[in-house]
């Protein structure tokens, strides 16, 4: 068994009287492609928000052995965690290239004053140059290079999703949190993204945790699947096992299945 990269233990969160997550525990091992499924409102995105630091839950979330709960959200990229959002959170007025460049900016902390002096059109610093080269490379890999100078808001939905993925990748994360990367896509686009996610996982060794509704894709590419319902873990295991679980069938797939 490979080392555990992400260990979530007894995580709970409530908003006022609503129990959004109750004692959720699971671990994701290094190099795994891990999916989280569950009906709407099951707490999937809330769980992501706990891992990425928007919420501070009860319990413990360890990444590479480092406790994340209580740490500031903007420190996640430095540790190697990047995420995408359910409803795309690109910077709409900025070009694709600039969007991606922000993704490589977590180094800002170490040299904020220095980076004030980097005049990008002159490309006068080596670091700036290497950021740009890296950004171009990733954009090419995700097939969005031709849109480098186009404002993000002018792109088609599927393309925006790719740009968001490129932005997350440029920081070279060890763990990628993808919140419904295929939502709203055509089946052709879904296949492409699924292949891409699989490639990132296999070739770059990026550990992926993905929330996704498309069961076909989830079954096809995931190593293991976590099922949430009403903020609780109801199943965890390889896709084929999970889908046979009677509780899962009842909660998620409906009585009819």
């Amino acid at each position: 068994m490979a080392a555990m990269l992400l260990e979530v233990q007894q995580v709970g969160l409530n908003f006022g009287g609503v129990q959004a997550l109750t004692d959720v525990s699971f671990s994701v091992s290094q190099g795994e492609l891990f999916s989280i499924i569950g009906p709407n409102g099951a707490g999937k995105t809330t769980l992501f928000d706990c891992i990425s630091g928007r919420y501070t839950p009860k319990g413990s979330i360890k990444f590479n052995g480092v406790e994340l709960v209580g740490q500031k959200s903007h420190l996640r990229p430095k540790l190697g965690i990047m995420r995408t959002f359910q409803n795309i959170a690109l910077f709409p007025n900025e070009t694709v290239e600039d969007n991606v460049l922000v993704g490589s900016d977590y180094r800002l902390r170490s040299g904020l004053l220095r980076s004030c002096l980097y005049w990008s059109p002159l490309g006068c610093s080596r670091q700036e140059g290497s950021h740009r080269a890296q950004a171009r490379e990733i954009m090419a890999e995700l097939g969005v290079e031709q849109f480098a100078n186009v404002p993000a808001s002018e792109l088609a939905y599927g393309t925006q999703k790719r740009v968001e993925l490129a932005r997350a990748l440029v920081a070279q994360p060890a763990l990628l949190l993808l919140d419904e990367p295929m939502a709203g896509m055509t089946s052709g686009e879904k296949m492409e993204i699924a292949a891409l996610v699989q490639k990132l996982n296999q070739e770059r060794g990026i550990t992926v945790v993905m929330i996704e509704h498309d069961m076909g894709v989830v079954m096809e590419i995931s190593h293991r699947v976590l099922v949430l319902d009403f903020g609780q873990r109801i199943a965890l295991g390889p896709p084929l096992e999970v889908i046979e679980d009677p509780q899962v069938r009842r909660a998620y797939l409906g009585e009819a299945v």
Binding site: R76, L90, F91, N93, D105, C116, A171
Partner: protein, 295 residues
């Protein structure tokens, strides 16, 4: 005709200072979603500090001016660190109230230290006119105009071309996304406050040169509002253009409305008439986005 041209020029000069201060206001709004009601007080304190440095140290204006900017940086950092950082996550309205409080404190400091009487600024730029062909302009006005433009151009270039500028733009359009990209929000907020305080301080020094110092300089904060609202609360370009528009309207109003109506003091009110009229047609201002506060 000369009278008219004079009013226009006067308006453009005063307007360029409005533009610069408006830029500070818009910047804080864009970065932190808070309207800074202490903007006028920052302007006022900048003017008084510059005067104090000149009088106490006897240093040349340029040095005092640079030291004033340094002071504004420290003041902004102190405000951000000691007051606003504690308000992180608080509702925008609560933070706005806090900025009103900061304004009151700054005004009290000025009243306590320098008193309420008007103090003339030592002459830095001669008021003597320069003949520009069409019209003669006071050197003081010309320099104020040039300095305002230079500062606006400088910060414009900063936002457009530097990495920090990019990160600030990104933060303004989606805080959530910027934070998940590793952008330290508190640092970005601090930079926004610093730039805003510096441009206000510069505006204060220029205005002080033109009109002398009094606690009423803080009223500039209110004067800058029509410019910001007219331009659209979130538009830097809008604020810049509208600042000049408001300056010109104010001067034309002051110049002509008195003769027309026999009433004094209509000048500063004139822009507000236009403001209301424009907001009827375009509630988000001339250049504003659709989904911002409609005022």
């Amino acid at each position: 005709m000369d009278y008219f041209l004079g009013l226009i020029i006067n308006g453009i000069v005063v307007g360029s200072i409005y533009s610069m201060v408006a830029l500070g206001l818009v910047l804080i709004y864009k970065a932190t979603e808070v309207v800074n009601f202490a903007q006028g007080e920052l302007l006022m304190i900048g003017a008084y500090i510059c005067l104090e440095i000149i009088q106490v140290t006897g240093m040349p204006f340029l040095v005092s001016f640079l030291m004033t900017m340094g002071f504004m940086v420290i003041l902004a950092l102190a405000i951000e660190r000691l007051v606003l950082r504690r308000m992180m996550g608080a509702p925008a309205l609560a933070v706005i109230m806090v900025t009103i409080g900061i304004g009151i404190v700054l005004r009290a400091v000025v009243l306590g230290v320098w008193g309420a009487t008007s103090i003339p600024f030592p002459e830095v730029f001669p008021r003597q006119g320069i003949d520009l062909g069409v019209v003669t302009v006071s050197q003081l006005y010309l320099w104020s105009f040039i300095l305002s433009l230079a500062f606006m151009a400088m910060f414009g270039a900063f936002f457009k071309f530097t990495r920090v500028g990019l990160v600030m733009r990104a933060t303004a359009s989606s805080r959530k996304a910027a934070e998940s990209m590793g952008v330290p929000l508190t640092k970005i907020f601090a930079i926004a406050w610093i730039i805003s305080a510096v441009v206000s301080g510069v505006g204060g020094v220029l205005t002080g040169n033109i009109a002398g110092l009094s606690p009423e300089l803080s009223f500039y904060g209110v004067k800058v509002f029509p410019a910001v609202i007219l331009g659209g609360l979130d538009s830097i370009v809008g604020a810049t253009i509208s600042g000049v528009i408001i300056g010109v309207l104010e001067n034309l109003g002051g110049g002509y409305l008195k003769d027309l109506t026999g009433l004094h003091g209509l000048g500063p009110v004139a822009p507000f008439f236009i403001l209301v009229a424009i907001l009827w047609v375009r509630p988000t201002g001339l250049f504003g986005r659709k989904n911002i506060e409609k005022l």
